[in-house]
């Protein structure tokens, strides 16, 4: 009779395999999980991009044009549209020299949520509060 938080940690770079995409799409599926649960139960994914995982968050990805697959950018936009919380590690963005204006945004699609750039200490707290952790 409660909702649990589940931490999704995306730590691998984009397009090496399906792993980053699957992290985001599995999180998005929280929308329909109540079909398989009791009244009042639910799962709230908290998606955290850390390490090389932050490289998934650069906007302007031309994956459909070049490889005929939905870009990770599209998946991240969809995640924002369904009101998921997505966090990007501030220290890792700085380490790789990626300015925040390069990050994916779904404002044009009407999303209320944005990628949230936070220090690793915040991500640690999110993981502390999660019942289970999934590392992609």
């Amino acid at each position: 009779m409660s909702v649990i938080e589940v931490g999704f940690i995306i730590q691998r770079p984009p397009y090496k395999s399906e792993t980053s995409t699957l992290g985001v799409t599995h999180a998005i599926s929280y929308q329909v999980v109540d079909m398989l649960l009791e009244e009042g139960q639910g799962v709230t994914p908290k998606v955290c991009f850390i390490g090389e995982g932050v490289l998934n968050c650069i906007s302007g990805q031309k994956a459909m044009e070049n490889y005929g697959v939905t870009s990770i950018e599209s998946h991240i936009k969809n995640a924002l549209l369904v009101d998921l919380d997505l966090y990007v590690c501030k220290e890792d963005l700085e380490r790789f020299g990626i300015s925040e204006d390069r990050l994916i945004d779904a404002e044009d699609m009407g999303a209320d949520k944005k990628l949230q750039v936070v220090p690793f200490s915040e991500i640690q707290k999110i993981l502390n509060n999660s019942k289970h952790l999934l590392v992609f």
Partner: protein, 98 residues
């Protein structure tokens, strides 16, 4: 949190394991992670063994690689699959695989 990390590789462990903190931390070396428990690179033990954590290594994965109990660092406890299940259920709450 009580966190258990499966370390399954040798040279390509991500820095996530360095950064995560937990009140209670356990590292279980499996697959090529067993080399962290057995190899002294340039005479030095793996830096992972310096962490404030409990260390375990899977016996089957040692033997598969031709490694023996005598190769294992004294800080690391040798366990089997049944022990791993007990560790997961009794000693830790959250488990991650790196």
């Amino acid at each position: 949190m009580k966190l258990c990390i499966f370390v399954n590789d040798f040279k390509t462990v991500t820095d996530t394991v360095e950064r995560l903190s937990a009140e209670k931390l356990g590292l279980i070396f499996i697959q090529n992670g067993v080399f962290h428990a057995t190899i002294k690179e340039n005479g030095k033990s793996s830096h992972l063994l310096e962490k404030p954590a409990s260390f375990y290594v899977l016996a089957e994965d040692l033997a598969t690689r031709g490694l023996t109990d005598a190769d294992v660092d004294k800080r690391v406890k040798i366990v089997n699959y049944g022990d791993v299940v007990d560790l997961i259920f009794n000693e830790y709450e959250k488990i991650i695989w790196l």
